[in-house]
């Protein structure tokens, strides 16, 4: 990605200088109008661009220091892509990512490496995210090796063992290989590796989806403890809405590359305003058989292709409340007076939510 031809220069962030965005308002991460289009090409030698998958298409949010932000939505809604843009594992097509007061959208080389030290990821699959040929001691020490820290072997080993203890692994298992560990323990290894460099931001992409329920609770409790203990800022991606509710202070609901609703966990779950948020909550199976047989409204259809998203509000093709305006005019994300911001022309009312089988709270 070259500096030239990017629609927004770093200084485009409302005229603020890096110093200003850093300290004052407590936001660690700021994302403005972030866009990521993946080109669709035809041809083998001469690749013509015939379209683009609009994976992330104009997303803005902030993450405060010490806060856990949840990203939810169906497969293909762009939540993982957004996280990868924030951590600079992908380069944005346009838009701006600022981290700790510094515009990192286009940083390269040594500066990028320095930024990456501050942000770490925990991945979904604890089986494929650990190198099977390395001992877990060297897996957890890898970040130190990359950044040339703790060159003294003994010191490095002590630090790794300390990390293992923090995440609830037996430090004596330093020389074992990943296959000797269960899924939950492997995920702990992944967490220890992510914590090694004392990052400011931890991005957890579906960290418990591959785990059994009993083990899932162990890892969720661990992440919550660590977040409190180290004051970590966390981006938590999951498709399980109950898990997100449990883990996150604020939640952003994404649909086809857009944030359709964002707000505090209590507000968003207590009184969701966007019909898509309502539909997601209505779809969660409730572990209560006395409610068995209650008629729930099931959201019909599939997510449209992100290569050719619907006009206007992207949800209008599946929305039970859609009217003509929804197909022509894209709603903006704005405060709907109940604590959340939603992008909808006709936000849900409490009566409608009750009809959908979603309980609201004052």
């Amino acid at each position: 990605m070259s500096e030239a031809g990017t629609p927004e220069a770093p200084s485009g962030l409302a005229g603020s200088t890096p110093q200003e965005t850093g300290a004052g308002d407590g936001a660690l991460v700021k994302v403005r109008d972030l866009v990521k289009h993946f080109p669709i090409t035809r041809g083998i030698i001469f690749q013509r661009k015939v379209g683009a998958v609009r994976a992330v298409d104009g997303v803005s949010f902030e993450i405060k220091r010490g806060e856990t932000l949840g990203l939810v939505g169906e497969t293909g809604c762009g939540k993982s892509t957004t996280a990868r843009l924030v951590t600079r594992l992908l380069d944005a097509t346009s838009g701006l990512v600022s981290f700790d007061g510094q515009d990192i959208t286009r940083v390269k080389g040594g500066r990028l490496k320095a930024v990456r030290r501050e942000m770490q990821m925990v991945f979904q699959d604890p089986y494929s995210s650990l190198n099977p040929r390395k001992t877990i001691g060297s897996i957890i020490a890898e970040p130190f090796a990359i950044h040339g820290l703790l060159p003294d072997k003994g010191e490095r080993k002590r630090e790794v063992q300390r990390l293992m203890e923090i995440v609830g692994l037996n430090p004596e298992h330093y020389n074992r290989y990943p296959h000797e560990f269960s899924g939950g323990q492997r995920q702990r290894i992944g967490v220890a590796r992510a914590l090694a460099l004392k990052p400011k931001l931890l991005v957890a992409d579906e960290p418990v989806s591959a785990l059994d329920v009993s083990i899932q609770a162990q890892v969720l409790n661990l992440l919550r403890d660590l977040q409190r203990q180290f004051g970590l800022t966390v981006v938590f991606i999951a498709h399980d809405l109950s898990v997100v509710r449990h883990m996150c202070d604020r939640v952003a609901v994404m649909y086809l590359g857009k944030v359709v609703e964002i707000g505090g966990g209590d507000e968003l779950y207590g009184f969701p305003r966007h019909p898509y948020t309502g539909a997601l909550l209505a779809a969660v199976p409730v572990a209560d058989p006395t409610r068995h047989g209650e008629k729930r409204r099931v959201l019909g259809g599939d997510v449209p292709s992100p290569a050719n998203p619907p006009s206007g509000c992207r949800f209008h093709t599946r929305c039970p409340k859609a009217q003509d305006i929804c197909a022509t005019q894209e709603p903006v994300l704005e405060d709907k007076g109940s604590g959340t911001q939603a992008a909808c022309h006709f936000p849900l009312t409490r009566e409608e939510l009750a009809d959908m089988g979603v309980k609201t709270r004052a």
Partner: protein, 357 residues
């Protein structure tokens, strides 16, 4: 279990063992359950608890893997364990159908969806190709795929995940099965699609009076679908009852652990989840005594010696549990847990000696 007439499927003391390099794997270790026509049995448990193996064995699908099977699987009076392969083949995909977790790997990527459906029909019915194709279109319509006449000529990659699972269900329904075994049918799907698939299965069950065995680790899904529930741990059923009883008055500490370890949409955020400590046990050398005792916060010294039997709960004839704690202790413990106490606090409050470390 809510007995209405004769069970369609009755599994009696089923054991399945696999030889392995490290020793014999006791995948299923003596389980008994029954399924009634038009009813749904939910089998719940962690990976490796034997829930999938028991169902595969019902269809004879573990035979080729060198499994040693004992016990009986009675389906309409015939024992599927000893039934010759050719007769079993006439039942499999016909009277008993199965849908699997991953719809993408269960469909052949190089054949059109229609051809795969036609194959399922022709395997058991002596009809013309044209009639089978008509049936394929009808089936796609039945499971709610729009424009089935066009879709029938498409390939699996042209279908979304939810649509593929619908195709799998259509294929399972091809010959109007009496029993449908659904192994984690919605695990790979988004919540909205999951809700669609579950609603579809319920509708088809009503219309066709099928019995369903749904295997899942998701307690929300069983609460929604199942009439009866069997909780499996380390190859055994540790608790079985109606869905209502399991959620309202669970008796086994493992069931408590499952219920307390899931975050709830309406729960308080400040409450910590209560995980089940440890990891699932080895099925080659399962723990002595009660298989759950190494992970059970309430286990007593003799629980490592005595193997509990699945016995009826006092006053609830349809509710069975395999636990060595007395039923008074269990009720006290569950009441304390419901008040929000942690397992060790509940143990103290119920006046029981602390579990040995």
């Amino acid at each position: 279990m809510s007995a209405v007439g004769e069970p369609l499927l009755r599994v009696e003391d089923l054991r399945v063992e696999f030889p392995s390099e490290d020793g014999i794997v006791h995948a299923v270790d003596g389980i008994t359950y029954q399924v009634f026509p038009g009813k749904t049995l939910g089998i719940v448990g962690e990976s490796g608890s034997g829930k999938t193996v028991s169902s595969l064995t019902t269809l004879g699908l573990t035979r080729r893997q060198g499994a040693k099977v004992s016990g009986r699987i009675l389906f309409e009076g015939r024992d599927l364990v000893t039934l010759p392969e050719d007769q079993l083949r006439s039942i499999r995909g016909n009277d008993i159908a199965m849908i699997f977790q991953d719809p993408l790997s269960s469909l052949h990527p190089l054949y059109k969806v229609g051809k795969q459906l036609v194959e399922a029909v022709l395997a058991h019915k002596d009809v013309s190709k044209a009639a089978a194709r008509e049936r394929a279109v009808e089936l796609l319509g039945l499971v709610g795929i729009p424009d089935p006449a066009r879709r029938v000529d498409q390939f699996p990659h042209e279908f979304s995940g939810g649509m593929r699972q619908r195709v799998m269900i259509a294929m399972a329904l091809a010959n109007d099965p009496k029993l449908l075994i659904a192994d984690e049918p919605t695990t790979a799907l988004d919540v909205t699609v999951q809700a669609q698939i579950l609603a579809l299965m319920e509708r088809l069950q009503r219309e066709l009076n099928m019995a369903i065995v749904i295997i899942t680790h998701d307690l929300g899904v069983v609460a929604e679908m199942a009439d009866d529930i069997a909780v499996m741990y380390a190859g055994r059923i540790v608790e079985t009852a109606s869905a209502r009883q399991v959620f309202a008055a669970p008796e086994h500490p493992y069931t408590w652990g499952l219920l307390k370890s899931i975050p709830r949409l309406d729960g308080s955020r400040d409450e910590d989840l209560v995980p089940i400590p440890g990891t699932p046990p080895s099925l080659i050398r399962p723990p002595s005594g009660c298989h759950f005792h190494p992970r059970c916060p309430y286990s007593q010294p003799d629980h490592a010696r005595i193997d509990p039997l699945l016995e009826p709960v006092a006053g609830e004839p349809d509710h069975h549990v395999a636990c060595l704690l007395s039923s008074e202790d269990r009720r006290r413990l569950w009441a304390e847990l419901q008040r929000g106490l942690k397992p060790d606090e509940a143990l103290a409050a119920a006046g029981l000696p602390e579990a040995p470390a």
